[in-house]
């Protein structure tokens, strides 16, 4: 019924009744979904975390000897976890009260189906949940992508840097930030026109995406880019930045023969920041290094040094 490698959306049914799982397996077998099952609240939460399903069909009255966790608890765990918030939850319950339905919807459930369910209705509600989710995800992504360069935008950069910084501090992991600015961009625009300037940004954005898969290149604003490098120490980040620097320098611009465009880079390793740094501290450390690169002649990489010795 389910192809493990299928790209069909994943639907996880959490219900303590084997009868319901059998029924869903048969009734949903012709739908373009992958169906998974969990028979307790506990198992359900574990599977939600592991599987990242698109839709959860959640029995409200999960009570088969399961440490007192019911459907509401599962709903609360899913909706309380930022990583799981976009999982659509359709609550299924046998003759639930109006209060139960309202409470489930207020807690973030997308929809409600009564048990015993009409199978055509259940299918329609699953399809509807998937449609809405697809649109929400598309909008969410669109709101975080820069139109000019197709890189992540500033909104995403701030959010992602906050997340990565938090994780680096919590788990004592390395993290570096590279800020990059096109040299003499204003002059380029003035001499060759804004369409050329736009093309330069677009091409540079493409170069900044040729790095390691884990690097997160974003448009910070104007002609400035920010690249987040998780699990990367300063010395590695310098190498990464220098590779970008050379690639940009070597780029050929057919519309302006002989043209050489360069960029300057500032690198900061989270390790040099004292105390519990904010993303502003981190960005300004990398920015200070970037301005030193500009000051020291452009087309170069500089690294931030600690203001106060660490510790």
């Amino acid at each position: 019924m389910t192809e493990p490698s299928s790209t069909f959306p994943k639907v996880l049914a959490i219900d303590d009744s084997e009868l319901i799982h059998r029924l869903l397996a048969v009734r949903l077998q012709h739908e373009e979904i992958q169906l998974f099952g969990a028979t307790s609240a506990d198992m359900g939460i574990k599977m939600v975390r592991k599987l990242r399903p698109d839709v959860v069909l959640l029995d409200l009255v999960l009570d088969a000897n399961d440490q007192g966790m019911d459907g509401f608890d599962v709903l609360q765990v899913i909706k309380g976890d930022p990583d799981l918030q976009d999982v659509s939850v359709i609550v299924i319950a046998a003759f639930a009260t109006v209060e139960d339905r309202v409470r489930a919807l207020d807690m973030g459930a997308s929809d409600f189906v009564n048990k015993p369910f009409e199978i055509v209705e259940l299918k329609a509600r699953v399809r509807s949940a998937l449609r809405v989710q697809h649109l929400v995800r598309m909008l969410a992504q669109k709101a975080q992508v820069d139109g000019g360069t197709a890189l992540w935008n500033r909104t995403y950069f701030d959010r992602r840097l906050t997340q990565e910084l938090g994780e680096a501090i919590r788990h004592n992991r390395s993290l570096s930030l590279v800020m990059c600015d096109v040299d003499g961009f204003k002059k380029l625009n003035d001499e060759h026109g804004h369409p050329f300037g736009d093309k330069v940004l677009e091409r540079l954005a493409r170069i900044l995406q040729t790095g390691r898969g884990s690097d997160i290149a974003c448009r910070y604003g104007g002609e400035e880019f920010g690249i987040i490098l998780p699990n990367t120490v300063g010395s590695e980040a310098i190498e990464v930045a220098d590779r970008y620097r050379r690639a940009i320098e070597q780029e050929v611009w057919p519309s302006v023969p002989g043209m050489v465009i360069t960029a300057s880079f500032g690198v900061a390793d989270v390790f040099i920041l004292p105390g519990t740094p904010t993303i502003e501290d981190f960005i300004s450390a990398a920015d200070a290094a970037l301005y030193r690169a500009k000051f020291n002649g452009r087309n170069r990489v500089e690294v931030a040094v600690p203001k106060h010795p660490p510790g």
Binding site: L19, I20, L23, V26, F95, K115, P116, F117
Partner: protein, 105 residues
């Protein structure tokens, strides 16, 4: 429900659905065990277990094409929740058993 007279046999509403034949047969096959488990729970005064068994049947029986069975299970679930005494519960489990006894593949 095709037949509603109390003496007649009951067949699943989905008896002719080729997708459903297998799981309906399994459902019917397991039904005596479910009833036996309810009797065991009553004898052991395990109301929680009884409620769970009734609750599962209440939610699922309709899906297998036996809504009457689901309604009877709902009455048991209700009685347990209301804290009714054993006589009421036994009589309701008896009603469920009577419906179950009429079911044929």
């Amino acid at each position: 429900m095709r037949l509603s007279n109390d003496q007649t046999t009951l067949r699943s509403e989905f008896a002719d659905d080729p997708d459903m034949v297998g799981i309906v047969a399994l459902f019917i096959h397991e039904l005596p065990q479910r009833l036996a488990a309810m009797h065991v729970a009553i004898a052991a005064a395990d109301r929680e277990q009884l409620r769970m068994l009734a609750h599962q049947l209440k939610g699922a029986a309709g899906g297998y094409g036996f809504p009457k069975l689901g309604e009877a299970a709902a009455l048991i679930d209700q009685a347990v929740r209301a804290g009714n005494d054993d006589n009421v519960i036994r009589s309701r489990v008896g009603m469920l058993a009577a419906i179950a006894a009429r079911i044929r593949p």
